[in-house]
Amino acid sequence: MNLKRKLALSDISGFALASVLVLTIFNVILQNSLLTQNSAGNALLALSSHEGVANAVTTVVVYFRGFDTLGEIAVLFIASLGIGLILENPHAKQGKKEESNFMLKTAAKLLFPIILLFGIYIMVYGHLSPGGGFQGGVIIASGVLLLLISSNNFHMPHKLIAILETFAGISYVFIGLIGLLLLDTFLGNFLPHDISQMGMLFSGGIIPIIYIIVGIKVGSEMSFIVQNLLQRGEHD
Protein backbone atom coordinates (compact mmCIF):
# COMPACT_ATOMS: atom_id res chain seq x y z
CA MET A 1 0.00 0.00 0.00
CA ASN A 2 2.67 2.56 0.88
CA LEU A 3 4.44 1.96 -2.45
CA LYS A 4 1.26 3.18 -4.18
CA ARG A 5 1.05 6.17 -1.86
CA LYS A 6 4.76 6.89 -2.34
CA LEU A 7 4.30 6.85 -6.12
CA ALA A 8 1.26 9.08 -5.86
CA LEU A 9 3.20 11.42 -3.61
CA SER A 10 6.06 11.70 -6.07
CA ASP A 11 3.56 12.33 -8.87
CA ILE A 12 1.91 15.15 -6.99
CA SER A 13 5.21 16.68 -5.97
CA GLY A 14 6.46 16.38 -9.57
CA PHE A 15 3.31 18.00 -10.86
CA ALA A 16 3.53 20.79 -8.28
CA LEU A 17 7.18 21.51 -9.11
CA ALA A 18 6.55 21.48 -12.85
CA SER A 19 3.51 23.70 -12.57
CA VAL A 20 5.27 26.27 -10.35
CA LEU A 21 8.16 26.58 -12.79
CA VAL A 22 6.00 26.74 -15.89
CA LEU A 23 3.51 29.16 -14.31
CA THR A 24 6.26 31.61 -13.37
CA ILE A 25 7.62 31.39 -16.95
CA PHE A 26 4.06 31.79 -18.19
CA ASN A 27 3.17 34.91 -16.29
CA VAL A 28 6.46 36.57 -17.17
CA ILE A 29 5.82 35.94 -20.88
CA LEU A 30 2.18 36.93 -20.45
CA GLN A 31 3.12 40.39 -19.24
CA ASN A 32 5.12 41.29 -22.31
CA SER A 33 3.99 39.11 -25.19
CA LEU A 34 3.81 41.82 -27.81
CA LEU A 35 5.58 41.01 -31.06
CA THR A 36 7.94 43.75 -32.09
CA GLN A 37 7.51 44.33 -35.81
CA ASN A 38 11.15 45.12 -36.47
CA SER A 39 11.99 41.43 -36.59
CA ALA A 40 14.76 40.46 -38.93
CA GLY A 41 12.28 38.53 -41.01
CA ASN A 42 11.08 41.51 -43.03
CA ALA A 43 14.66 42.45 -43.89
CA LEU A 44 15.29 38.86 -44.89
CA LEU A 45 12.16 38.75 -46.99
CA ALA A 46 13.39 41.80 -48.85
CA LEU A 47 16.80 40.22 -49.33
CA SER A 48 15.44 36.86 -50.47
CA SER A 49 13.38 38.51 -53.19
CA HIS A 50 16.44 38.74 -55.42
CA GLU A 51 17.67 35.23 -54.72
CA GLY A 52 15.38 33.85 -57.40
CA VAL A 53 13.84 31.31 -55.07
CA ALA A 54 10.09 31.18 -54.50
CA ASN A 55 10.11 29.53 -51.10
CA ALA A 56 11.56 32.08 -48.64
CA VAL A 57 11.93 29.40 -45.95
CA THR A 58 14.19 27.42 -48.26
CA THR A 59 16.40 30.44 -48.98
CA VAL A 60 16.72 31.02 -45.24
CA VAL A 61 17.36 27.36 -44.44
CA VAL A 62 19.88 26.74 -47.20
CA TYR A 63 21.48 30.08 -47.96
CA PHE A 64 21.09 32.74 -45.32
CA ARG A 65 21.48 30.27 -42.43
CA GLY A 66 23.18 27.58 -44.52
CA PHE A 67 25.70 27.01 -41.74
CA ASP A 68 22.98 25.76 -39.40
CA THR A 69 21.88 23.28 -42.04
CA LEU A 70 25.46 22.08 -42.46
CA GLY A 71 25.64 21.66 -38.68
CA GLU A 72 22.31 19.90 -38.65
CA ILE A 73 23.45 17.51 -41.41
CA ALA A 74 26.48 16.80 -39.22
CA VAL A 75 24.15 16.03 -36.29
CA LEU A 76 22.13 13.61 -38.40
CA PHE A 77 25.32 12.01 -39.77
CA ILE A 78 26.78 11.54 -36.27
CA ALA A 79 23.45 10.19 -35.00
CA SER A 80 23.25 7.57 -37.75
CA LEU A 81 26.93 6.73 -37.17
CA GLY A 82 26.32 6.40 -33.43
CA ILE A 83 23.19 4.29 -33.86
CA GLY A 84 25.06 2.07 -36.30
CA LEU A 85 27.89 1.74 -33.78
CA ILE A 86 25.66 1.06 -30.78
CA LEU A 87 23.15 -1.27 -32.38
CA GLU A 88 25.45 -3.42 -34.47
CA ASN A 89 26.07 -6.83 -33.02
CA PRO A 90 28.21 -8.90 -35.39
CA HIS A 91 27.21 -12.27 -33.91
CA ALA A 92 23.51 -11.63 -34.69
CA LYS A 93 21.59 -14.82 -35.27
CA GLN A 94 19.62 -14.71 -38.48
CA GLY A 95 16.36 -15.72 -36.77
CA LYS A 96 13.88 -17.04 -39.29
CA LYS A 97 11.43 -14.16 -39.65
CA GLU A 98 7.94 -15.36 -40.37
CA GLU A 99 6.72 -14.44 -43.81
CA SER A 100 4.71 -11.19 -43.78
CA ASN A 101 1.19 -11.69 -45.03
CA PHE A 102 0.32 -11.42 -48.64
CA MET A 103 -1.61 -8.18 -48.58
CA LEU A 104 1.26 -6.21 -47.08
CA LYS A 105 3.64 -7.55 -49.70
CA THR A 106 1.51 -6.58 -52.72
CA ALA A 107 0.55 -3.20 -51.17
CA ALA A 108 4.22 -2.51 -50.59
CA LYS A 109 5.08 -3.35 -54.18
CA LEU A 110 2.37 -0.96 -55.37
CA LEU A 111 3.03 1.87 -52.92
CA PHE A 112 6.84 2.00 -52.97
CA PRO A 113 7.23 3.63 -56.42
CA ILE A 114 4.59 6.24 -55.57
CA ILE A 115 6.25 7.10 -52.26
CA LEU A 116 9.62 7.26 -53.97
CA LEU A 117 8.26 9.57 -56.67
CA PHE A 118 6.54 11.77 -54.11
CA GLY A 119 9.73 11.98 -52.06
CA ILE A 120 11.82 12.92 -55.07
CA TYR A 121 9.25 15.54 -56.07
CA ILE A 122 9.30 17.10 -52.61
CA MET A 123 13.08 17.09 -52.61
CA VAL A 124 13.62 18.54 -56.07
CA TYR A 125 10.92 21.21 -55.89
CA GLY A 126 11.99 22.28 -52.45
CA HIS A 127 12.78 25.81 -53.56
CA LEU A 128 9.50 26.36 -55.32
CA SER A 129 6.87 24.66 -53.14
CA PRO A 130 6.90 23.82 -49.45
CA GLY A 131 9.16 20.94 -48.47
CA GLY A 132 12.73 20.29 -49.45
CA GLY A 133 15.74 18.16 -48.70
CA PHE A 134 14.86 17.01 -45.20
CA GLN A 135 11.24 16.15 -45.86
CA GLY A 136 12.00 14.49 -49.23
CA GLY A 137 14.82 12.40 -47.79
CA VAL A 138 12.72 11.14 -44.91
CA ILE A 139 9.85 10.26 -47.24
CA ILE A 140 12.24 8.17 -49.34
CA ALA A 141 13.50 6.56 -46.15
CA SER A 142 9.93 5.71 -45.14
CA GLY A 143 9.56 4.08 -48.54
CA VAL A 144 12.64 1.98 -47.84
CA LEU A 145 11.18 1.18 -44.42
CA LEU A 146 8.03 -0.06 -46.07
CA LEU A 147 10.09 -2.46 -48.19
CA LEU A 148 12.12 -3.62 -45.19
CA ILE A 149 8.98 -4.50 -43.27
CA SER A 150 7.18 -6.15 -46.09
CA SER A 151 9.64 -8.52 -47.74
CA ASN A 152 12.23 -10.72 -46.12
CA ASN A 153 14.62 -11.06 -48.98
CA PHE A 154 15.01 -7.31 -49.40
CA HIS A 155 18.56 -6.51 -48.53
CA MET A 156 19.63 -2.89 -48.34
CA PRO A 157 22.11 -2.04 -51.09
CA HIS A 158 24.70 -0.89 -48.52
CA LYS A 159 27.46 -0.20 -50.98
CA LEU A 160 25.31 2.06 -53.16
CA ILE A 161 23.80 4.03 -50.28
CA ALA A 162 27.20 4.52 -48.64
CA ILE A 163 28.65 5.88 -51.87
CA LEU A 164 25.65 8.19 -52.33
CA GLU A 165 26.02 9.46 -48.80
CA THR A 166 29.75 10.16 -49.04
CA PHE A 167 29.30 11.80 -52.43
CA ALA A 168 26.56 14.06 -51.09
CA GLY A 169 28.51 14.99 -47.95
CA ILE A 170 31.73 15.80 -49.80
CA SER A 171 29.99 17.84 -52.48
CA TYR A 172 28.11 19.87 -49.83
CA VAL A 173 31.33 20.90 -48.13
CA PHE A 174 33.01 21.49 -51.46
CA ILE A 175 30.24 23.87 -52.55
CA GLY A 176 30.81 25.72 -49.31
CA LEU A 177 34.58 25.85 -49.89
CA ILE A 178 34.15 27.02 -53.49
CA GLY A 179 31.90 29.75 -52.15
CA LEU A 180 34.71 30.63 -49.73
CA LEU A 181 37.18 30.69 -52.61
CA LEU A 182 35.15 32.75 -55.07
CA LEU A 183 33.16 35.12 -52.90
CA ASP A 184 35.34 34.64 -49.77
CA THR A 185 32.20 33.95 -47.75
CA PHE A 186 31.67 30.28 -46.88
CA LEU A 187 28.57 28.88 -48.68
CA GLY A 188 28.33 32.02 -50.81
CA ASN A 189 25.89 31.75 -53.75
CA PHE A 190 28.33 31.85 -56.66
CA LEU A 191 26.05 30.49 -59.44
CA PRO A 192 23.91 32.95 -61.45
CA HIS A 193 20.49 33.37 -59.86
CA ASP A 194 18.51 36.24 -61.35
CA ILE A 195 14.86 36.74 -60.64
CA SER A 196 13.73 36.42 -64.25
CA GLN A 197 13.75 32.64 -64.28
CA MET A 198 11.89 32.35 -60.98
CA GLY A 199 9.97 29.11 -61.12
CA MET A 200 12.41 27.26 -63.39
CA LEU A 201 14.03 24.10 -62.01
CA PHE A 202 17.56 25.42 -61.46
CA SER A 203 16.69 29.04 -60.87
CA GLY A 204 18.04 29.65 -57.37
CA GLY A 205 21.80 29.36 -57.85
CA ILE A 206 23.31 26.86 -55.43
CA ILE A 207 20.17 26.66 -53.28
CA PRO A 208 18.32 23.90 -55.13
CA ILE A 209 21.55 21.98 -55.70
CA ILE A 210 22.35 22.06 -52.01
CA TYR A 211 18.82 21.06 -51.07
CA ILE A 212 18.98 18.04 -53.41
CA ILE A 213 22.33 17.04 -51.95
CA VAL A 214 20.83 17.44 -48.48
CA GLY A 215 17.92 15.31 -49.57
CA ILE A 216 20.18 12.50 -50.77
CA LYS A 217 22.23 12.64 -47.57
CA VAL A 218 19.20 12.68 -45.27
CA GLY A 219 17.57 9.92 -47.29
CA SER A 220 20.54 7.57 -47.01
CA GLU A 221 21.19 8.35 -43.34
CA MET A 222 17.57 7.91 -42.37
CA SER A 223 17.43 4.57 -44.18
CA PHE A 224 20.54 3.44 -42.26
CA ILE A 225 18.94 4.55 -38.97
CA VAL A 226 15.67 2.88 -39.82
CA GLN A 227 17.38 -0.31 -40.91
CA ASN A 228 19.56 -0.49 -37.78
CA LEU A 229 16.65 0.25 -35.45
CA LEU A 230 14.39 -2.26 -37.10
CA GLN A 231 16.70 -5.23 -37.33
CA ARG A 232 19.12 -4.15 -34.56
CA GLY A 233 22.01 -4.76 -36.83
CA GLU A 234 21.20 -8.36 -37.84
CA HIS A 235 21.94 -7.47 -41.43
CA ASP A 236 24.32 -9.45 -43.59
Partner: protein, 79 residues
Protein backbone atom coordinates in the same frame (compact mmCIF):
# COMPACT_ATOMS: atom_id res chain seq x y z
CA UNK B 1 -12.57 30.54 -37.54
CA UNK B 2 -8.80 30.13 -37.15
CA UNK B 3 -8.96 31.03 -33.48
CA UNK B 4 -11.52 28.30 -32.85
CA UNK B 5 -9.47 25.67 -34.71
CA UNK B 6 -6.37 26.60 -32.72
CA UNK B 7 -8.27 26.52 -29.42
CA UNK B 8 -9.84 23.17 -30.21
CA UNK B 9 -6.62 21.49 -31.34
CA UNK B 10 -4.71 22.83 -28.35
CA UNK B 11 -7.29 21.44 -25.95
CA UNK B 12 -7.23 18.11 -27.79
CA UNK B 13 -3.44 18.11 -27.70
CA UNK B 14 -3.36 18.71 -23.96
CA UNK B 15 -5.82 15.92 -23.25
CA UNK B 16 -3.98 13.48 -25.52
CA UNK B 17 -0.57 14.40 -24.09
CA UNK B 18 -1.71 13.95 -20.50
CA UNK B 19 -3.34 10.65 -21.40
CA UNK B 20 -0.21 9.49 -23.22
CA UNK B 21 1.97 10.05 -20.17
CA UNK B 22 -0.35 8.70 -17.53
CA UNK B 23 -1.24 5.59 -19.58
CA UNK B 24 -0.09 2.34 -18.00
CA UNK B 25 0.25 0.29 -21.16
CA UNK B 26 3.05 1.43 -23.45
CA UNK B 27 1.31 0.62 -26.73
CA UNK B 28 -1.59 2.94 -25.93
CA UNK B 29 0.73 5.79 -24.88
CA UNK B 30 2.65 5.50 -28.17
CA UNK B 31 -0.57 5.59 -30.19
CA UNK B 32 -1.63 8.67 -28.23
CA UNK B 33 1.81 10.13 -28.99
CA UNK B 34 0.90 9.78 -32.69
CA UNK B 35 -2.17 11.87 -31.89
CA UNK B 36 0.08 14.62 -30.55
CA UNK B 37 2.05 14.50 -33.81
CA UNK B 38 -1.13 14.84 -35.82
CA UNK B 39 -2.39 17.70 -33.66
CA UNK B 40 0.82 19.65 -34.00
CA UNK B 41 0.79 19.17 -37.79
CA UNK B 42 -2.71 20.67 -37.93
CA UNK B 43 -1.62 23.54 -35.75
CA UNK B 44 1.47 24.26 -37.83
CA UNK B 45 -0.70 24.27 -40.90
CA UNK B 46 -3.11 26.80 -39.43
CA UNK B 47 -0.09 28.91 -38.48
CA UNK B 48 0.64 29.37 -42.22
CA UNK B 49 3.87 27.35 -41.88
CA UNK B 50 3.62 24.65 -44.58
CA UNK B 51 7.32 23.71 -44.48
CA UNK B 52 7.26 23.16 -40.76
CA UNK B 53 3.95 21.28 -41.01
CA UNK B 54 5.42 18.92 -43.61
CA UNK B 55 8.57 18.37 -41.55
CA UNK B 56 6.54 17.78 -38.40
CA UNK B 57 4.30 15.36 -40.25
CA UNK B 58 7.17 13.36 -41.70
CA UNK B 59 9.68 13.55 -38.87
CA UNK B 60 7.84 14.72 -35.78
CA UNK B 61 5.03 12.19 -35.95
CA UNK B 62 6.30 9.77 -38.62
CA UNK B 63 9.81 8.79 -37.65
CA UNK B 64 9.52 9.46 -33.90
CA UNK B 65 6.56 7.12 -33.57
CA UNK B 66 8.43 4.55 -35.61
CA UNK B 67 11.38 4.88 -33.23
CA UNK B 68 9.16 4.41 -30.17
CA UNK B 69 7.46 1.39 -31.79
CA UNK B 70 10.79 -0.34 -32.53
CA UNK B 71 11.92 0.49 -28.98
CA UNK B 72 8.75 -1.18 -27.74
CA UNK B 73 9.42 -4.18 -29.98
CA UNK B 74 12.93 -4.66 -28.61
CA UNK B 75 12.05 -3.92 -24.98
CA UNK B 76 9.01 -6.22 -25.26
CA UNK B 77 10.84 -9.18 -26.81
CA UNK B 78 12.69 -10.00 -23.57
CA UNK B 79 9.84 -10.30 -21.06
Amino acid sequence: MIGFIILFTFIALIIVAFAALVQKKLEDSIILFMGIGLGSVILFFTFNAPDVALTEAVIGSGVSTFIFLTALKHLRSEQ
